[in-house]
């Protein structure tokens, strides 16, 4: 019987730890924080956005007006590289693709599930900085998914910024109930 008692005691001690670990693992399923795939052309955001201070919106101009920030078309690259004389193998590859009229298949880093509607322009207008969601891209040689991009992560920001946005808006409109629920927390804001 003592054996049984010992067994039970051990189980009681180990079980919670195991459960906690399992729960943590499960909560990370489908979260790709830190994902940094190799790209067909080793484009360095550190060089362009960091060292040379090229504005994000110069290449990802869609972010201002569209739901998609967009990946720049090759003619955008050539705007500069058509004039620049510096050559590297990667730039060679780029120019080759342009000459052959061959599209470059980049590997997507940031993927949201199909059932989430995310609109870049809405956030850019709202004064959200690119880095808030994409991390310090200007320091990344190869782009990495910096944030978890889970729903909880989105909601945290909406919760934090919601109230003052709401109040500011109501002040400008001159109507609305300060206790009204914040539209930014509606499910239908992103899921439809």
């Amino acid at each position: 019987m003592r054996a049984a008692a010992v067994f039970i005691a051990l189980a009681a001690a180990v079980a919670p730890i195991a459960v906690a670990l399992a729960a943590w693992e499960l909560s990370r399923v489908g979260v790709h924080q830190g994902y940094a795939p190799i790209q067909p052309i080793a484009f360095s955001h550190k060089l362009h956005a960091g060292d040379y201070q090229v504005s994000c919106m110069y290449c990802h101009w869609g972010a201002r007006t569209s739901r998609h920030a967009g990946i720049p078309s090759l003619n955008v690259c050539m705007n500069c590289h058509g004039l620049l004389t510096r050559q590297t193998t990667d730039i060679e590859r780029l120019k080759e693709a342009v000459q052959q009229g061959r599209a470059i298949a980049w590997t997507r880093v940031h993927n949201l599930p199909d059932f989430v509607y995310f609109n870049h322009s809405q956030h850019v207008i709202g004064g959200v900085a690119c880095q808030d969601c994409h991390g310090p891209v200007q320091t990344m040689e190869r782009v990495r998914q910096d944030k978890a991009l889970t729903m909880g992560w989105c909601i945290a920001c909406h919760r934090a910024r919601g109230p003052e946005l709401q109040l500011a808006r109501q002040a400008t409109l001159g109507r609305g109930d300060p206790h009204a629920p914040f539209p930014g927390l509606d499910c239908g804001k992103c899921h439809f």
């Binding site: 007006t65 569209s66 470059i104 509607y117 109930d177 509606d186 239908g188």
Partner: protein, 990 residues
């Protein structure tokens, strides 16, 4: 301008839905190599699975295949990935030629809407128009030209054709172009050139012909066209067998006009509509007074009406015979009303009989309607079929007097009443060329098939009504190796095959001079292209209205002589009609239209023999019993449908079904009723059928099986008098006590109002919603099981007697209840209330207990019983890479096992709010339109913000006619209804 082929390579397609990106990519690759995209095999199908939320949810458990993002090589000017581009064009769905605005996303047309700039048609469309965007992505379309059934290159075909045409023989080649009504002046000009150049004869053929009306108009007024009817100006409308709100001539325009005359808030005088017809049509179901007549009585009714009017006019009775119609009372009322509204009344008739049409013209003339409600100076050019020419052509072909036959937009091997004769005759024609976009019944027999573009891929123009012009432009690069019919004609004419240039040139020569606004043609052209419509100023200038010159008295005499021919006992007159969805069968392969419930019978997927309840009882027939209709050489077998309000002397069958080569979806559905058309309407005795039961039973797929309101206050109907009485007396259920604390008022409170008086039940909203919200098609079996997925349905109830019912319709969608019964019962919070009053369904949270569906008093929730988006059992548009291109990237495609329902087009609301935000303002009333509101030709649906007292919605919600369905349950719907007004002579039946 539509983007070139590069549209395949945009980022968003990959962003929108990974699998669609994959699928479209493979197409793009093939296209780049100049190959045809192969039709999706099962493997493709699996390779692109994982489209849905479920797949996403599962694949989210592992990174799965890495996703590629392929940017443009060269970003086209003025196109932002992920932002809609709109093009104005002209609808090719039927012969009405409505103006359209086409919404394209990343180069793909995904939704069509009416062009509000079009003075004639307004912003509305019909169900067929809405569905045309899907027919663009129809996998049955030919992917290139065929010569004797084998794929060939355009150069080969052109060489062969030109060789044949230019082969010098003893005599010049006799060419015939057999086409549908061609609305485009430029195209007509092109054909005229042919006729001079090559001696081509042009025969216009319409399966459902209005030739009698046109001939009568020619005889009566000397105008070889159909008058332009102005229902909006008529205070009394009498229609004889003319379904002008559903299928007749120009339904969208007529619906818009008709509804404009029936708005009590705008003018106290509501038009009265009296209808004589055989089967209960959409139009008849809206009439204030409707009488069921046998097809053979059409003439008698017209004649009796003429006699009454003539007597009132003091012109004396035109004929000295006895009255022979059964509808005396209705005729008296009609005559009185018409007479009271002389000059503001309108009599239209769908009879395919010259004399009847002459008499109807006479009535309108005697009433002084010519030039007011009946415009013969600027007539309609929409329906120019010529039966006699067609009959003559078949005869010539049989005699071998035709060397080459061009078939353009016609399918006589299916829809010609004596199709077998036509097929035989075709064999005697050395060269037959079909321009059909698919291998239909006729094209299959042609020597060469030179597939035409879909109208959304093509240039063109139209003149539906004299001196009202519109342009058509491509909204997408041709998906397949097809060529515009006009280009083919130009090619064979030895001209450069560039119809775009030809069109511009034609407009430069003919229309540019007719305006002063623009200094240069390019400005004029760009403006016309942008607006889509152009009405020259001189068109509007009134000319001397023509007067009736034809000899209508002889027609009257002939009618009188014919009337009273006795109907053989136990035989029934065949009555052939078009349904709102399928029309003449050209769109039979369109799953959206096949699944659209008929506005009256609510039956989908197939046709049926409509019999009167009394007849059904006598013969022991119940709905679904397969009956055999025998009429001499014609014999049809199809299930019966017992229809209240059906004439006991007639059995009605819809055309458009029984296609043998429509495609995967449409082939083999129903029975072809065109053979009956030969006899129909002309001489009833020939059309008399016997009905016998076969003993088989074939349940019909009806979406509504109970037709009485059971005395419940669901659709309210009041008389005009009642409206005056209780004006302003709005029963307000919100005062009822509530257990719940009131929500703090947010910035918006979205809501909707549906005017049951304007709504005709045409069901365009159902298809529009399907297109906008990626609503799946489930097919005949599933509809039989009561599982159709439409987010908005049109409930139809009968009141009164079986033989003479009054019909009530009610669009029913999610009511977005303030206290929604569905919300508290969901265990996982998958359906919740938004801050701005929407009842939201969160697909990706739903586990599918269906408790919300059970607890919804309106039964508007729809459950995904299967994986509709990737399932061989549902081989409709969502299951092929091509068909998926129509999907709206802003709306999730729902997975199996989740509940869905009307979201009040939340994606449009969000887009509207965002647009306002981008412009630094708040959304204005009217900025945001739901799909159902936008499409409605009658403008019966209004979406808006109840928090904005100035909004149109807030006004309507306070209307004296306003009420909410099942208000007494305390659900506080945000959808308001406005009671129907029946302007019946006896002060409102119900």
């Amino acid at each position: 301008m539509s983007t070139p082929v590069t549209f395949w390579r945009s980022v968003e397609e990959l962003r929108a839905h990974a699998d669609r990106a994959v699928s479209r990519d493979c197409l793009a690759g093939l296209r780049a190599q100049g190959q045809q995209p192969e039709s999706p095999s099962r493997r493709d199908f699996l390779s692109v699975a994982g489209f849905s939320v479920a797949a996403a949810a599962i694949s989210a458990c592992s990174r799965g295949a890495e996703q590629k993002a392929i940017p443009f090589l060269n970003q086209p000017e003025g196109m932002t990935p992920g932002v809609d581009t709109w093009y104005a064009t002209t609808c090719g769905g039927c012969r009405a030629g409505c103006g359209l605005l086409v919404k394209t996303r990343d180069g793909r047309p995904i939704k069509v809407e009416g062009n509000a700039r079009s003075a004639l048609f307004g912003g509305g469309t019909c169900a067929v128009g809405q569905a045309t965007v899907l027919s663009l992505y129809d996998g049955e379309r030919l992917e290139g030209p065929l010569w004797h059934g084998r794929p060939a290159s355009w150069t080969d075909i052109d060489a062969k054709v030109e060789a044949f045409l230019s082969a010098d023989g003893a005599r010049p080649k006799r060419l015939v172009l057999l086409s549908r009504t061609l609305l485009g002046p430029a195209t007509r000009a092109l054909i005229a050139e042919w006729s001079q150049g090559r001696g081509l004869r042009h025969v216009v053929y319409e399966p459902i012909s209005l030739a009698a009306l046109r001939r009568a108009t020619l005889a009566a007024f000397g105008v070889d066209a159909i008058p332009h009817f102005r229902f909006g100006r008529a205070r009394t409308i009498v229609a004889i067998e003319a379904d002008f709100l559903g299928t007749w001539l120009s339904p969208v325009e007529f619906t818009r006009d008709y509804a404009s005359g029936r708005r009590p808030e705008e003018s106290a005088a509501i038009s009265r509509h009296i209808h004589f017809e055989s089967t209960l049509s959409l139009t008849g179901s809206n009439a204030d007074l409707r009488v069921a007549i046998a097809p053979s009585e059409q003439g008698a009714v017209a004649l009796s009406l003429l006699r009454r009017i003539a007597r009132k006019l003091g012109a004396g009775d035109p004929v000295e015979t006895l009255e022979t119609t059964s509808a005396a009372r209705a005729l008296d009322i009609a005559a009185d009303d018409l007479w009271r509204c002389r000059g503001e009344s309108l009599v239209v008739c769908g009879a395919r009989d010259f004399d009847t049409q002459m008499v109807v013209h006479a009535i309108n003339a005697l009433l002084g309607n010519i030039g007011r409600t009946v415009d013969v100076d600027r007539p309609s050019l929409q329906h120019r079929g010529d039966d006699d020419a067609m009959a003559g052509l078949v005869e010539e072909m049989r005699r071998g007097e035709v060397d080459a036959l061009l078939l353009y937009g016609v399918n006589p091997a299916y829809d010609y009443p004596r199709a077998d004769e036509f097929v035989q005759a075709m064999k005697h024609v050395p060269l037959t060329i079909s321009l059909s976009d698919r291998l239909d019944e006729t094209a299959a027999l042609a020597d060469a098939v030179c597939p035409d573009h879909h109208f959304l891929e093509a240039w063109g123009d139209a003149e539906p009504v004299a001196s009202f012009f519109s342009l058509a432009q491509p909204t997408i690069a041709p998906l397949f190796d097809t060529r515009a019919a006009q280009d083919s004609l130009l090619e064979w004419l030895g001209r450069p095959p560039d119809f775009h240039a030809y069109l511009r040139d034609h407009w430069r020569r003919t229309l540019y001079p007719r305006q002063q606004q623009f200094a240069t043609f390019d400005e004029f052209w760009d403006r016309a292209l942008h607006d889509g419509a152009f009405a020259p100023a001189d068109g509007a200038t009134a000319r001397a209205t023509r007067t009736l010159t034809g000899d209508w008295r002889r027609s009257a005499a002939r009618l009188a002589a014919r009337a009273g021919s006795v109907r053989p006992e136990g035989r029934f007159e065949a009555h052939v009609y078009e349904t709102v969805a399928i029309r003449d069968g050209a769109h039979a392969n369109n799953p959206w239209l096949q699944e659209l419930p008929d506005p009256v019978t609510k039956v989908t997927w197939g046709n049926y023999a409509v019999v009167a309840p009394s007849v059904a009882t006598r013969l022991g027939i119940t709905a679904g019993d397969v009956v055999s209709l025998d009429g001499g050489d014609i014999r049809l077998e199809l299930p019966a449908w017992v229809q209240p309000g059906q004439s006991p002397h007639a059995v009605s069958i819809a055309v458009g079904y029984g296609r043998s080569r429509a495609g995967r979806v449409g082939s083999g559905l129903g029975t072809n009723a065109f053979p009956l058309l030969a006899a129909d309407g002309r001489s009833p005795s020939q059309a008399s059928l016997t009905i016998t039961r076969t003993g088989r039973h074939e349940p019909l797929a009806a979406t509504q099986t109970h037709h009485s309101m059971e005395g419940r206050d669901i659709v309210r109907q009041i008389s005009p008098a009642a409206l005056v009485d209780d004006a302003g007396d709005r029963r307000e259920a919100d005062d009822a006590a509530s257990l719940w604390r009131a929500r703090p008022a947010a910035e918006h409170a979205w809501g909707m109002a549906v005017d049951l008086n304007a709504c005709t039940g045409c069901s365009a909203c159902v298809t529009a919603c399907q297109a906008e919200n990626n609503v799946p098609v489930v097919g005949k079996d599933e509809v039989r099981r009561g599982r159709e997925m439409h987010w908005i349905r049109i409930d139809r109830y009968y009141t009164g007697s079986e033989d003479d019912p009054a019909t009530l319709v009610q669009p029913m969608m999610c009511q977005h209840c303030g206290h929604a019964p569905c919300e508290p019962v969901c265990p996982v919070l998958a359906t919740v209330h938004s801050s701005d009053g929407l009842n939201q369904q969160v697909y990706n949270r739903c586990v599918g207990t269906r408790y919300c569906e059970n607890n919804c008093p309106y039964k508007v929730r729809r459950f995904n019983w299967f994986e509709y988006a990737s399932n061989d059992r549902f081989d409709f548009n969502m299951n092929s890479p091509l068909g998926r291109m129509v999907l709206n990237p802003d709306v999730t495609v729902r997975s199996r096992g989740v509940m869905e329902k009307c979201s009040l087009c939340v994606q449009r609301i969000q887009a509207g709010k965002l647009a306002a935000k981008q412009e630094g303002r708040t959304p204005q009333d009217g900025d945001i339109q739901t799909a159902c509101q936008q499409v409605c030709p009658a403008e019966a649906i209004v979406f808006g913000d109840l928090n904005d007292p100035a909004s149109r919605l807030a006004q309507l919600a306070k209307s004296a006619r306003g009420y909410r369905v099942l208000e007494e349950l305390g659900t506080r719907p945000n959808v308001h209804y406005l009671a129907k007004i029946r302007n019946a002579p006896d002060g409102g039946r119900s």
